[in-house]
């Protein structure tokens, strides 16, 4: 064997570096786990299977008659998601045009601002937006709708500006060669190309927003989450079970609709 090189995928140094990286990762994980472990009442955790069984036996069967009171919150939830998505588009489309490299009026000034708007809208969860809006304009579905809209602006604008950057430039050049104004170039050269992407993004976000708006009620921003909160507060587990079931079905149905629409467009 001596003097004979056995094939290796990586050099020894590289192998060591990778090994060291893994070691570091494991060390960080263990340190983090110790922190969580210290803050956990393990006595409760050992008891968890019994508690889970207990909650499950209390929650079944769901209180089916409670569905009467859920239709209106469900309608509110649908409206919060739909109107919220529509509102967000009104802002997301201009922001996307300002953020895309090929349509922005100024790469050095306007684009960073648009990108910052997108990042800040995306970093903040819709529940935090809702919390903020409930504090400002009071509880209700208006706060929920605006929260959904604010959170969706970043998401839609990000996907849309990426779509704008990928458009076919020959069509745009052809339109501008006819002497079209910038606004005409956008409406005849760019918009038709991004329409399918826009529709796809909208339906995709709508589907996510249905899921998000089911919980906005927890902070007082309307919808079915409000019923969930009040049922939880009085520990009415059969009602909680029914609400969770309704939310589950609503989310599955909206995901199905969104998948169908996207399939039809693309």
């Amino acid at each position: 064997m001596a003097g004979k090189h056995v094939w290796q995928r990586r050099t020894t140094t590289r192998q060591l570096l990778i090994w060291f990286g893994w070691l570091l990762l494991v060390a960080i994980f263990v340190a983090c786990w110790m922190y969580i472990s210290n803050r956990t009442e393990w006595f409760f955790v050992y008891d968890a299977p019994r508690i889970a069984g207990d909650i499950f036996s209390r929650a079944t069967p769901p209180r089916w008659s409670y569905i009467e009171k859920l239709w209106e919150p469900l309608w509110d939830t649908l409206n919060v998601a739909t109107i919220g998505t529509a509102l967000s588009l009104i802002f997301a489309i201009p922001v996307a045009f300002l953020a895309a490299k090929n349509t922005t009026p100024s790469v050095t000034f306007v684009r960073p601002i648009a990108l910052f708007l997108i990042v800040s809208s995306r970093s903040i969860n819709s529940l935090i937006w809702a919390l903020l809006l409930v504090a400002i304009i009071g509880p209700g579905i208006l706060a929920g709708t605006i929260a959904i809209a604010l959170r969706s602006i970043g998401f839609c604008a990000k996907l849309l500006y990426e779509a704008i950057e990928e458009i076919n430039t020959t069509q745009v050049e052809a339109i501008s060669a006819t002497g079209a104004r910038q606004s005409q170039v956008i409406s005849y050269g760019i918009l038709p190309q991004i329409m399918p992407a826009l529709a796809g993004i909208t339906v995709f976000r709508w589907d996510i927003n249905i899921r998000e708006s089911t919980v906005l009620g927890l902070v007082g921003a309307g919808g079915i989450g409000l019923q969930l909160q009040s049922s939880l507060n009085i520990l009415a587990w059969p009602q909680v079970a029914l609400i969770l079931l309704v939310i589950f079905i609503a989310v599955i149905v909206s995901e199905w609709i969104s998948a169908m629409v996207r399939k039809a467009i693309i």
């Binding site: 803050r39 889970a52 409206n79 504090a135 005849y188 899921r211 089911t214 902070v219 939310i247 589950f248």
Partner: protein, 267 residues
Amino acid sequence: MSDAQVVRHWRKPPTIERAWLRYGLLLLTLVYLYFSVGSYDVNWARVAEGLDRGWAFIKAFANPDFVSRRSDFIEGMTESIIMTVTSTVVGIIISIPIALGAASNLAPLPVYLFCRAIIALSRALHEIIVAILMVAIFGFGPLAGFITLSFATIGFLSKLLAEDIESMDKAQAEAVKATGASWLQWINYAVQPQVMPRLIGLSMYRLDINFRESAVLGLVGAGGIGATLNTAFDRYEFDTAAAIIISIIVIVMVLEYSSSLIRGWVQ
């Protein structure tokens, strides 16, 4: 008169070609808008009253207060970051076998259906709802948040990874199989190298999502910065709330930037 007939105007073709579908959708939208906007019951007096408060909040961003709730702030942020890291790691470890089971070209049908059911369940339940249940079962604290985020990571990562495995290059897989490799060797030498870049990219992206989610889990008592944020809003301490929100934005920006660096490096 005959001249006028020759001169025709070109009109932009409509996005939806079928006229009945176009006008039908328009009508449906209008009817829906009428009923949905009608169901909004807005207390405009309360909104007007709140505008001052909204302005106060925007002004608070000019001088955020990191100091007066310093200990709560640091503790909440540390807890959020720690929950993010642990749950992402555990979520990835669990989601790899589930992704293998949920890929239709690898798994037998019963395993496939079982794994897909886990994914569907995890994706349909919002993190907050899972967190409420976990707090009820495991008690208050970061453990509930950690379990919630791990569970959410499984649905996200397994689904996208399974899709990537399903669209992998068959030739490489067959070549490795033809050498007489065992199933584990086959996964390790044929499948894993093909999906690794995507797995790393998705993991980084999920790290970012988990941090954003960890910021709200505190609302239901599952640990993290959310509890501090909620208290700040309840007491109308907008300067503290602004400080927390700014920190969240900065951390998300750093995560997003580093994840794009790592993705560029891997691919």
